[in-house]
């Protein structure tokens, strides 16, 4: 008994050393011990990263350089993370021709190829729904089939409706986010900062279109399948425990390119363009076609328009 008392005296644990030790231990738990190669400054910067919209250009570049280093260590390939800002005078809009869609899911897989979603566990941003023609229950999505199998598409007696993020002008998801990790960009794209997302999934509950997807597991994708042309707010590799969604291929559209789904559609049912350009195909569609938006009664004001090729002004 006396001996232990002596030992305690030898250690000299008084209040000050105890507090010091506790603080050091707390700091050690914060350190990413599984990532021994990451330097302390990288960790410090990632932990105290500013909000993306409050960063200066130089700060953004610093963050991107850190992320590119991190991805190269993780995936052993060079991944470019872009920070292209929104073009002035551009508001992106999308059109989908329901009378042409054949339900072949080409867009769904083209999206996965472009946007670096996890292959295992599977995450798809586009969901192609199948409806019976002349079904009085349409558009009740409870009666839609998502997991249909068919030898050939289209099948007679059915029509198809692909659903992805509707890029609402009045999005419900961004207001639900407690950390402001998701917001609407000036060009109308609703984006997520995966480094600010805490994975609470409030936005998923708020979205009426089921457009947001959660990384329940560590995302897996073979390095040779990774698209190295990425954007910070778009298709850069994600972490476990963050929400992701369609960004109108922000890494393509902000460089003037059509989205991957538009390029892939074999029947040309998908239209994309600038809503503020009166000569764009998207404006012609809105002016001349029978157009509807999903769940308009919710006042989310989507910029994703479904239309029918037949009828209207012909």
């Amino acid at each position: 008994m006396k001996k232990t008392k002596d030992e305690r005296r030898a250690l000299k644990v008084n209040r000050r050393t105890l507090l010091k030790g506790t603080l050091a231990a707390a700091a050690a738990t914060m350190l990413p011990l599984n990532r021994a190669d990451a330097s302390f400054s990288d960790f410090w910067e990632s932990f105290f990263q500013k909000h993306f919209r409050e960063m200066t250009e130089a700060e953004k570049e610093k963050v991107v350089a850190r992320l590119e280093k991190e991805y190269e260590e993780k995936y052993k390939i060079a991944i470019k993370v872009g920070i292209e800002p929104a073009m002035p005078g551009v508001l992106f809009g999308y059109g989908l021709d329901l009378s042409r869609c054949i339900g072949c899911r080409t867009c769904e897989y083209a999206c996965v190829a472009e946007n670096n979603q996890s292959i295992d566990p599977q995450i798809h941003w586009i969901q192609v729904l199948r409806f019976k023609k002349e079904d009085p229950k349409f558009p009740d999505f409870e009666h839609a089939e998502k997991y249909y199998n068919a030898a050939l598409a289209p099948q007679p007696g059915y029509f198809y409706m692909p659903i992805q993020c509707q890029q609402c002008e009045n999005p419900a998801c961004t207001r639900a986010c407690p950390t402001q990790a998701t917001w609407k960009e000036p060009d109308g794209i609703v984006t997520i900062d995966y480094n600010w997302c805490i994975g609470c999934r409030y936005c998923m509950a708020a979205c009426p279109y089921g457009a947001r997807h959660f990384n329940w597991g560590e995302p897996h994708r073979a390095p040779q399948d990774i698209n190295p042309n990425t954007h910070y707010l778009g298709n850069r590799p994600r972490y476990r425990g963050v929400v992701e969604k369609c960004t109108f291929c922000i890494q393509r559209s902000r460089k003037g390119k059509y989205t991957a789904c538009v390029e892939a559609c074999p029947v040309g049912a998908r239209k994309f363009g600038n809503l503020l350009d009166p000569n764009s195909e998207i404006r012609y569609m809105i002016a001349n076609k029978r157009v509807f938006r999903l769940k308009e009664d919710l006042n989310t004001s989507p910029k994703f328009f479904y239309f029918f090729d037949f009828g209207g002004t012909r």
């Binding site: 599977q122 997991y147 329940w216 040309g268 363009g273």
Partner: protein, 176 residues
């Protein structure tokens, strides 16, 4: 030796001169008052070995009856009931098509032939609604022509094999 080499090079280059370009650009006037826009258009899906048509049809007078022989045996006409070859093909210049007015039109502008009957669709195609465009939404686009998707002799779009259904959430394993 030099002459031989030149002859070989010339022989190698010969098919190139006869072959159809993979792409070409056409100007389209979309609306009155809007200047014509330039588009890149993919090559019509004509077998490169069969082009130009005149290489076989040279010295072959146009017959009075529809006969599908030799290279044309696979043609099935499921378009324009009662129609025949020279409604669209030009009997006087085999490398061109012709309009109902008798005016000849190059194969690169076959949409003018289609647009004679399919006026509304032609209009919508010009505005970018019907058909497929790839490339830049704010710049140069590649614009698929009618015949890139609808084979004119059988224009109905053929069903294709769909991609597999996504995995149901209950079947996704989260091993890690």
């Amino acid at each position: 030796m030099g002459k031989k080499l030149l002859a070989i090079i010339a022989l190698l280059l010969l098919p190139l001169s006869l072959a159809y370009a993979d792409e070409h650009s056409n100007k389209l006037t979309l609306m009155k008052g809007v200047p014509a826009q330039k588009f890149i258009m993919p090559r019509p899906p004509i077998d490169k070995g069969l082009w130009p048509c005149s290489q076989c049809h040279k010295g072959m007078p146009p017959g009075p009856k529809r006969k599908l022989t030799m290279m044309h045996q696979d043609i099935v006409l499921k378009h324009m009931p009662g129609g025949w070859c020279y409604d669209c093909h030009n009997p006087n210049n085999r490398d061109t098509l012709k309009l109902f007015t008798g005016e000849s039109v190059s194969f690169d502008q076959s949409y003018l032939v289609c647009g004679q009957c399919h006026g509304f669709i032609f209009q919508e195609w010009k505005h970018g609604l019907h058909g497929k465009r790839v490339g830049m939404w704010n710049g140069v686009k590649t614009y698929y022509q009618c015949i890139n998707c609808h084979w004119p002799h059988e224009p109905h779009f053929k069903p294709i094999v769909p991609w597999p259904a996504p995995i149901k959430p209950a079947d996704i394993k989260y091993g890690n």
